[in-house]
Symmetry: C2
Subunit: 213 residues, 2 copies
């Protein structure tokens, strides 16, 4: 188990390691050298060794890394060895896409409630979960001790909802609204700003063209 | 205009500056000091000054920064001062969500084609764009000189499609599939790995709880 502080840079790389190790595990591969992992992941073997040293994942000379051990350790560090409860706020296309993403459920992220501002949706279901009015969020979160709220609503709504969610004890907000949320430090926020991502792509097209082929 | 190389770290921050400057512009604000911008964006004024110095955005003593000038400069650097053509591959919920995201259109990202593997969808429309069979992608991209392909398909399909798209001259792939794409260096890739993002959130919940309140 990792007790010492792991840098944010390493943390940022863990989900990718986890993904590749999961693929290897599924293919029945029990061990892998840092060089082999380096080849498939296109990062240097030295980077891999340094990263894995952070949580005691030392490879053995002539053996390499134990795939399942590393997979399990990373899963513990990421906190995905246990279930997390989610509510979905905003039941539009993006909310539907997230609800239907089977991988999340497989990884232990369970959608327990869904909410939308549109009365026409109330009582209908999204992936077997009933859609409720947003006025019921606060009571729901308190009763179910919901950990994570997924926000797929317009930005003006997102700001108000984030304040309300913080007050009723949510632990984290997965924010798809195109705005930075101002929440207390006990509420973790992870943003998915799609426009920002698209702009970076546009920048890279531009740069490649300017630099010439 | 920026001629010198701008670091990827600065580029990564540009969309966020662009977003805040756009908000200020909409509110009719003509100028702002680095300190005021620092307060609303929660980054240091010194960071802002350094970043803006990269593209000649020097503030003037007692005046501050010209909001519209900075907005326009950043827009040019990001390549969003001109239109970009997109095709959507995968017309499921995520594809629908992206097509319906009005902001993209406003920023000049125009969806010109949509494709899906499901025959039941062929001939139906997504945001006024007809959904076609994926077999037609190659001819479409060549004819329309499409710049960007948005991939919202399962990972095994994504790998094959990326190879095909690279061959028919696509400039960039905005990849939502949960896999790293292997494409030539003239094809720009920007990944939106939602699972990775959710795992980071899970890590931060875990860390906050371990550290105690």
């Amino acid at each position: 188990m990792a007790e010492k502080e792991i840098s944010q840079a390493v943390i940022g790389r863990l989900p990718r390691y986890f993904r590749y190790l999961g693929d290897l595990k599924e293919r029945g591969i029990e061990r892998i050298s840092s060089q082999e992992l380096s080849d498939i992941m296109k990062v240097t073997a030295s980077q891999i060794r340094q990263d894995f040293n952070n949580f005691g994942g030392f490879g053995q000379q002539g053996y390499g890394y134990n795939v399942e051990y590393l997979y399990d350790e990373i899963s513990k560090i990421l906190g995905i060895d246990k279930q997390h409860s989610l509510i979905l706020i905003g039941a539009g296309h993006l909310g539907q896409a997230i609800a239907n993403y089977t991988n999340f459920n497989k990884r232990g992220f369970v959608i327990e409630g869904a909410f939308d501002i549109n009365p026409a949706l109330h009582g209908t279901k999204i992936k077997e979960v009933e859609i409720r009015p947003i006025e019921e969020i606060s009571a729901f979160v308190k009763e179910h001790k919901t950990e994570i709220a997924v926000l797929t609503v317009p930005k003006d709504q997102a700001t108000k909802l984030a304040a309300m969610l913080s007050e009723c004890g949510i632990k984290a907000i997965w924010n798809f609204a195109h705005v930075d949320l101002d929440v207390p430090e006990n509420v973790q926020v992870e943003n998915v700003h799609l426009s920002d991502s698209l702009m970076k792509l546009s920048y890279n097209i531009n740069r490649y063209e300017k630099e010439g082929k």
